[in-house]
């Protein structure tokens, strides 16, 4: 489930990026106003890469331990905190991800993650980047509690104005429901898959949803072959159902 979610991440990220696409005049504006969060994140990433390289070459346990004490998260913490105070919720997502490296004890991490998640949900759920927050909730579901995450996903799936974030929430919710025993969870998952398929049937994402729904016993002799849409390298699209009325041999292959 996690692997599939990770595979999907680029899809959501890509779509969110498209939604964020800016016009040339906005780029001009941007270069004047600058995005403080992106800049800070870039700076942090640079510092982090440098620190990692240092850690790799450090000799001896003592030197390594000393370096761990100087984790870039600690150096950057206040700057992200101040961005968060100024109302940029993306900094909260960063903070939530960085608690461990800040040096918090395991017992302190969960309550802090809960606090940050609630803040994100309350104040930032309609932001274009909220998909990142949703992804972090999924990752932190053990800390946040599966029930809280599922309730949150249901809310976002229903109320978010961004359809990509809606789809992401539904998709993740299906993954979590799959692990819940009982007919009610199964029915809720089926209903969500139905909604997603209605919207995304002919996309890569829709195929993945179908794959989620298909069980090994659905692929045995005597069962209907799952519908799919294929695309040739020249961009010609076709469906399995285009070949209804013919005997079809599907050959899954690679030249590698």
């Amino acid at each position: 489930m996690i692997t599939t979610a990770l595979l999907l991440a680029p899809l959501f990220a890509g779509a969110a990026h498209q939604a964020n696409q800016v016009t040339p005049s906005q780029v001009l504006m941007e270069s004047i106003t600058v995005d403080a969060f992106s800049d800070l994140e870039t700076d942090f990433q640079e510092a982090y890469d440098g620190w990692r390289a240092e850690l790799r070459t450090a000799k001896g346990i003592k030197a390594k331990r000393a370096l761990r004490e100087k984790h870039p998260v600690r150096l950057f913490w206040d700057r992200f905190q101040s961005l968060a105070n100024d109302g940029d919720g993306r900094a909260l997502v960063w903070m939530s991800k960085s608690l461990r490296n800040k040096g918090l004890r395991l017992s302190e991490i969960a309550p802090e993650k809960v606090r940050l998640a609630k803040l994100l949900l309350k104040d930032y759920s309609q932001e274009a980047w909220f998909g990142d927050a949703v992804a972090s909730f999924i990752q932190d579901r053990k800390h946040l509690g599966e029930d809280w995450v599922m309730t949150t996903l249901r809310t976002v799936a229903k109320d978010n104005k961004d359809h990509v974030i809606q789809a992401q929430s539904k998709y993740e919710l299906v993954g979590m429901l799959r692990k819940v025993e009982g007919k009610q969870a199964e029915e809720e998952a089926e209903a969500l898959i139905g909604e997603l398929l209605d919207d995304y049937r002919d996309t890569e994402f829709g195929l993945r949803m179908l794959a989620e729904r298909t069980r090994p016993e659905d692929l045995e002799a005597g069962k209907e072959a799952p519908e799919f849409m294929g695309r040739t390298i020249d961009g010609h699209e076709f469906k399995l159902s285009d070949y209804r009325g013919k005997v079809v041999l599907i050959d899954f292959y690679g030249f590698w």
């Binding site: 890569e204 294929g230 040739t232 209804r244 079809v248 599907i250 899954f252």
Partner: protein, 99 residues
């Protein structure tokens, strides 16, 4: 592959279609492969993606799914020559029910 070409040739006048679904080749290897192996039938190209193969829970290559005219799965397996008699049988049945 040579066997698949024969298969397509053998059934070219029958209601039979071979559909390739490629997974894992980069575009260059793929285009070269199509030419080298004389792939004249339709072939879906997925690049790094594998969603169709995932949908069919393909775990080894090649894997074949034989599907009848109504869209029902008849047989699955990893050998095209094992599929051949079944294809003939299906086509013969279709012809019989038509006659």
């Amino acid at each position: 592959m040579p066997h698949l070409q024969e298969l397509v040739k053998l059934h070219q006048d029958s209601p039979f279609a071979l559909i390739g679904v490629n997974t894992g080749d980069d575009p260059e290897t793929y285009r070269k492969g199509l030419k080298k192996h004389g792939v004249s039938w339709i072939s879906a190209y997925q690049g790094e993606a594998s969603s169709i193969a995932d949908l069919y829970r393909v775990s080894g290559y090649p894997t074949y799914f034989l599907i009848d005219a109504k869209g029902m799965i008849v047989a699955t397996g990893h050998s095209s020559s094992a599929m051949e008699p079944k294809i003939k049988e299906l086509l013969a049945d279709m012809k019989k029910s038509k006659d």
